[in-house]
Symmetry: C2
Subunit: 273 residues, 2 copies
């Protein structure tokens, strides 16, 4: 049985953060249709247990499969770190996360083998980036730092505000004075603070954006599996957005960061899947 | 059938915020046992729909009833605003929220009938404080302002940090230059910023703390219904804490604000109720 290569790619996240991954897919795989699910009823995942993250991921994958997706991107660091290994074995379509592409890019970029990782508490505490990078290169040493205020700052529109600079300083001061030469933006919201963090860290530090790296990995994966959508004609691919709770704020945020305006966002009851 | 006056009071919130109400109950009703439930798996409620808030509240009330509570305090502005009217009709024990006590205190405190309300987006947008206060006194005019960063700032331990002052200025500048003479701290986390907000607003503004007012209302209610626990002996009442997701962070936060250290916090699956 051949795969329907015109089928959409499924992308999911705990909320709006995964839209930074969707944005990279739109930019670099413009022929691919996307079905996005944002779990706005249960956001944030960062403070939740592994068991719950796995249960949520299973429900979302079942939902995305009802939309006939040909591959799934877990565009959420917490879910990639805690659920990917389990759920990828349970379905017969490819599932990729954001942690491995980000880890690989950092290991490739570092020269002194000292890498920093910033993210939610769950991502940093799981040590998943460290484990994966040290499997790729046992000589790599990793410093992690949880920056829990970055997500609400981005979501409340403070990305360019002065206080965000002070909070960046509060969290990243020790990172800046450390010896790292590469820093992973280990939370899907953080690319929206990329220029602020870059200004603060200085240009000697290589910033790794897992959202971009994941889009590149998806590109290679689709090519390798002969699943690239080359049937598309017209303006651009179709993008569908689903959420598990009120869509207004989601839509507003999405339209502020995506190259195309979202017209319809549908709300579904994810607990039914 | 008489009520068991030695039974505990049930208190619930979307997370840790309701602990400020529990703290006031501990202070002012030291003889009352408390069973607290924090819905840490589904926090925050502020961005969720009315339907979901009602569903969550029903589940939590069913859970608290398995603990034999004699009365329930909805220690969450969002749930008080969106679910109280519905759920209080469905159970045969008294249920009170934090909105009515806060509204009553503000209407009593104001002299020029201009009142400010700060809270989550859901609380402010619902206009519930406004509706209730204008029912109590139609001449009252109300200015609302959502301050969505206050909750993460408090939860991440930034209550005393410099940036919190700047964010208070960002949100409350228009409130300070308005004509209000009373300001309701319409989110259970905000009493933890009370002194910062008081410093900023100046002592001409009367700050209304619904957590305190709710404990006072509970005191009157128990007296009125002849449900006061006067059987207690020994050191202090017993306080039990339940959460719907990992308890570590909850416990840490609780111990930072409560007069007694929490020893055990139990995790339950609230979706089963």
């Amino acid at each position: 049985m051949g795969v329907d290569y015109t089928a959409p790619v499924g992308v999911f996240d705990s909320g709006v953060g995964g839209l930074t991954v969707t944005r990279e897919i739109m930019r670099h795989l413009p022929n691919e249709h996307v079905v996005y699910f944002g779990d706005t009823a249960r956001v944030p995942y960062g403070s939740k247990s592994k068991d719950n993250i796995i249960r949520y991921s299973r429900q979302i994958i079942r939902f995305l499969q009802t939309k006939g997706v040909k591959a799934i991107v877990i565009a959420c660091n917490t879910a990639s770190a805690l659920a990917l290994d389990v759920v990828r074995q349970e379905v017969d379509i490819p599932v990729i996360g954001v942690v491995i592409p980000g880890a690989r890019a950092a290991v490739k970029a570092t020269e002194n083998k000292k890498i920093g990782v910033i993210g939610t508490e769950a991502t940093v505490q799981s040590g998943m980036y460290t484990k994966i990078m040290q499997k790729m290169d046992p000589e790599v040493s990793v410093i992690g730092k949880a920056c829990p205020l970055f997500v609400p700052l981005v979501e409340e529109g403070f990305a360019k505000h002065k206080v965000t600079g002070e909070i960046i300083d509060y969290y990243l001061d020790s990172m800046r004075t450390s010896e790292i030469d590469s820093l992973i933006l280990g939370c899907t919201h953080y690319p929206l603070l990329r220029s602020r963090i870059m200004d603060y860290m200085g240009d000697k530090i290589h910033l790794v954006n897992p959202a971009y790296e994941t889009a590149m990995d998806l590109k290679h994966l689709l090519k390798e599996k002969d699943m690239v959508n080359d049937a598309i004609t017209g303006e651009h691919a179709t993008y569908s957005f689903y959420v598990s709770d009120v869509a207004d704020k989601f839509k507003q945020f999405a339209n502020s960061i995506l190259p195309y305006d979202i017209e319809i966002t549908q709300q579904i009851n994810i607990e039914e899947y």
